[in-house]
Subunit: 433 residues, 2 copies
Amino acid sequence: MSRTLIRDLSHHPDESVTVCGWIQALRLQRRIQFVIVRDHTGLVQVTHVRDGGVVEAAFEGATVESAVRITGKVVANDKVKLSGLEIVPERVEIVAAAEAPLPIDEHTNLDQRLDWRFLDLRRPSQQLVFQVQTTVERAMREIAEAEGFTELHTPKLMATASESGAEVFEVGYFDRTAYLAQSPQFYKQMAIAGGIDRVFEIGPVFRAEPSFTARHSTEFTGVDLELAWIDSVEDVMAVEERLLHHVLIEVHRRHGVEIEEHFGVTAAVPELPFPRITMADALTRLRAAGWDPEGGKDDLDPEGERALSALIAAETGHEFVFVTRYPASARPFYHLRPDDDPSVTESFDLLWKGVEITTGAQREHRHEVLVAQAREKGMALEPLRGYLDCFRYGTPPHGGLGLGLARLLMLLLGLPSIRETTFLFRGPHRLEP
Amino acid sequence: MSRTLIRDLSHHPDESVTVCGWIQALRLQRRIQFVIVRDHTGLVQVTHVRDGGVVEAAFEGATVESAVRITGKVVANDKVKLSGLEIVPERVEIVAAAEAPLPIDEHTNLDQRLDWRFLDLRRPSQQLVFQVQTTVERAMREIAEAEGFTELHTPKLMATASESGAEVFEVGYFDRTAYLAQSPQFYKQMAIAGGIDRVFEIGPVFRAEPSFTARHSTEFTGVDLELAWIDSVEDVMAVEERLLHHVLIEVHRRHGVEIEEHFGVTAAVPELPFPRITMADALTRLRAAGWDPEGGKDDLDPEGERALSALIAAETGHEFVFVTRYPASARPFYHLRPDDDPSVTESFDLLWKGVEITTGAQREHRHEVLVAQAREKGMALEPLRGYLDCFRYGTPPHGGLGLGLARLLMLLLGLPSIRETTFLFRGPHRLEP
């Protein structure tokens, strides 16, 4: 049976079509039955004058959110708000009836809505979130393709805890223990050591953090890039700028109007380049503005991130800012340290509207320097052997970044939490649905 | 510094360029030093007449697989096999020296090569595997986009073991136990219940199977599709045909020559439609040919799969075959059973060259039927409650499939094992590198 999507009804005036969707609302009056049907492309009114027939009976027993297939004639009607069209039904099939009442409605709090996520997802604004996500990933891959990246899938099961060993999930693996990857970091670098010039991955990342903020989850989708033969960390920042610039152009082009309509925000396209500020300068300027009065912090806390973004926005009008040259003490052992100042790293965070969405760096590719830096951090070398071996046979200079997809979507759509931009959120207290 | 890729050297005759790559071979003769340099796009000969200078010294101390950056003039030389070009070096930088000897060479067995996967990956044939993988995924997404699929990332952490409970990895999750998803099956269906019309995902799948065949791993990349509002399982098979057809066209177009060169196989484009055979017919025909002489099997074993593919290929010349209508006893409770024969399911496997690459089905979307089928299989309903609840509020007919990416690549490239088409293979005895 040929299905017509609701957004395409205007191409079929006076024709008989079949639409498939859900009953959004029923208004069963004495003489006329009005039924609003929704599919993933829009809403349409179905108008049936009571005649004692099977259509009348089908609607009379129907419930909201039932899945229906309706065949009828597309009729122009200026009085109808939904594109001035309605369907006069000839055949109505309740394909799958919904129980009544529904367990959630528009007043239900977020946590309960997450319990019934599939019903919550039926809201057009939630449908839009994942349409935008699809566009975001497509735009990223367009840049990845144009710039010669190879798509890889790194393992999520590791033999050793990837970095600190804290915040890592343990997995029973036959007669031993495996760990869930907290990032594809080491594996991306292994690919670079393996001669893959540029690596691109979108995949799950696991963090056993007991965090309950709007920005944290125990499993999220990470976008990871790694580039060989860079001249400096600037090459990594530049590729991220091009990536986000293209993403925001595409989102604006495809969904700008709907985003404005559903979320009341404009998907603006940023200018290039994004502002850059060193961590030392950022700290100085934030302290001058009253942040960290005790002066003990060498990294930005969330309040510092918000203050810095506000400061840069006021100065430049830009929503993004790269914070560079993080102190070596605040970064992992494998971040490259510049020759002119070994107390800092060739690293960066990218803040958007006061929230960190990316951490990136040039990596240290010289085996002896890596070993020295690991020792300096007090790390045991034996668990790192597999990683360190990758630097014994000619690994070129390289760098990369990781970006959280749900955070990007949260900021793009002006939503308060990544719980609403994740298909099925996972937190310390939430493993279901 | 501007880098020229080796494949682009022919565009720069008599110019000075910089190439970045690895030393593939050194031939240090009395008068002349010949060095073959490799990047991810090709090989080039660097020819240096000894002159007692710094270039001579750099090459004299160099080791194979060191990462090098070489600046020099592109010169035509008919005697050189590599595209008739060579580079006369002006400046040589050993960016990262490789230790000698290398731990693997071309005679090393597969298992040891996997220990040093990053070195194994530097072989041009292995680079090609992941370039082809990138093309395969891109082509799949082109079809997904054209046909209105939404890209989703389903959780890999689950509160209950997804299907049988066997072959599932357990994860310590704060004060409870989580499980790694054996497939995105339930979540894809939840998205359909959530009104997402068509779902597409490429992501990791985990199987705690103690299998050591060339076709099994404990973590692999799955391609998953799910479609709402289907008329029958035929709609699912048809979308897979279009997907694979487009994939093979694109692979042939972009990599056909190289695949032939490195693997000696032709990436042929199949005709549509693929042959279809019911399981009952397949069993009858295989038994007539001597398979399963005891007559106890109701499903194909690997030998049966190979025999069936051979039989279909002999008859139709086709490398693919859909086997349909698997017995209900051999399929999970959620597969739809046709009205005319409840002993079978509206399901299929797709075999390619004798190997199963896909399992798919129309799913049962009627809550009461699902409950009855789960009971019939002797399943406890309580662990299924979250899943079953998705069918209480109007879930339309739907179906989908899962496809293993590494198997597809193995068959496409004529390789003997998915260990060679997986970036970092994971098996019961292999968690490293």
